[in-house]
Point group: none
Chain length 223, copies 2
């Protein structure tokens, strides 16, 4: 990570904007490239900025587009940029929306300037700073099992021994609730061939019955 980091600020309240500007832009770690009062202004003035921002500190409650609505628009132009939200709102819903939209962190406005600086540096270092109460919302989402355990990704990637195309076909048949006989008919092969594939699938997935196979699939999908 090389300093100074190109920083942009989106904040509509002039007083706060000035404070952030005065403090952050005076830091040697940052180089302010764009200070605006709305998402619209950001998008419009971006071409005239002193350079592409790497970090964007954005308010949520803005006139016109909200900070949350702005994230995807900004990321379209600046895929590398990381957006850190700075908000007075501390409700779970807004936090989730911001994170889902692509924000990498969420701070409350009462955060001291020195900490804000630290948090911006954490973002640049791959961190995701969140004010204490905000983080608790996020953690609770996990505890309420709202989050899938691990990327619900094609099982083949999780396996040492990948399944062949044929094997995947019969697995899909089983996931559709078909009997061996029907799977055989679906793919125009004999039932013994299906058995043969199943045998290999079971070995690779370490299961011993249709039920276990389906149970594993279920688990993978919900955790």
């Amino acid at each position: 990570m090389q300093f100074p980091l190109a920083l942009a600020i989106i904040e509509d309240q002039a007083a706060i904007r000035e404070t952030l500007h005065d403090y952050l832009c005076a830091q040697p770690e940052f180089r302010c490239v764009l200070i605006v009062d709305s998402v619209e202004a950001f998008l419009q003035e971006l071409p005239t900025a002193a350079g592409p921002p790497q970090l964007i500190l954005s308010d949520i409650g803005l006139p016109g587009l909200t900070g949350i609505e702005g994230i995807p628009l900004i990321q379209e132009l600046l895929p590398e940029a990381q957006v850190l939200m700075l908000s007075v709102y501390a409700d779970a819903e807004r936090v989730f929306e911001a994170l889902r939209a692509g924000a990498v962190g969420y701070l409350l406005k009462h955060t001291p300037l020195a900490q804000l600086k630290e948090h911006l540096l954490q973002v640049a270092a791959g961190g995701s700073p969140m004010s204490p109460g905000v983080a608790r919302f996020v953690v609770q989402a996990f505890q309420q099992q709202l989050v899938a355990p691990i990327a619900a990704l094609p099982l083949e990637h999780l396996l040492a021994e990948p399944l062949t195309a044929r094997e995947l076909e019969v697995v899909r048949g089983i996931e559709d609730g078909l009997s061996y006989k029907l799977i055989a008919e679906r793919h125009f092969v004999s039932i013994d061939t299906v058995r043969s594939h199943i045998r290999n699938v079971y070995r690779k997935l370490q299961v011993n019955s249709k039920a276990e196979l389906l149970a594993q699939t279920l688990k993978r999908q919900r955790g």
Copy 2:
């Protein structure tokens, strides 16, 4: 929040345990009530502790039960206690598991003692401290839309004929990949009873095999 906060520490490595003990227990904000080297020891010695801990700082990599496995056990005895994980592992999977198990925060072991103290206080204040990289994993889970927008709902509400408690139990057994025999053993009934329930479930759900039942469950879960 009244000080001092009752703190317990679970850490198997003596050197680290001593360091934590020496530093944290010397702080006026904390009152160490139990310092142990395993989850098993924690559960066993809890009755003899100087009082019920409000905060529990636990390692993950422990001999016997892991810190993650210990969380639900601990929470059964101490529903009010908040568990903060302290780990050398920085992989997404372990972080998710810990949070899902009930941890309120997740710190890496290289965290400086002074920060660790701050983080413990944050926990007591309703925060969820996470080391920067750890928080990023969590945020990414949101960005990858792994968070369920709405809860996926119990099949019983979709049915004209609702399943009875017993019937749901055997369905869960099937979803866990168990055989009739194992389901029977799990609920201390005969295998013929299980058959009987299965029969009714199949009629209500309009399916004719385990595979179809599981397939239906799968469909329902992924929409």
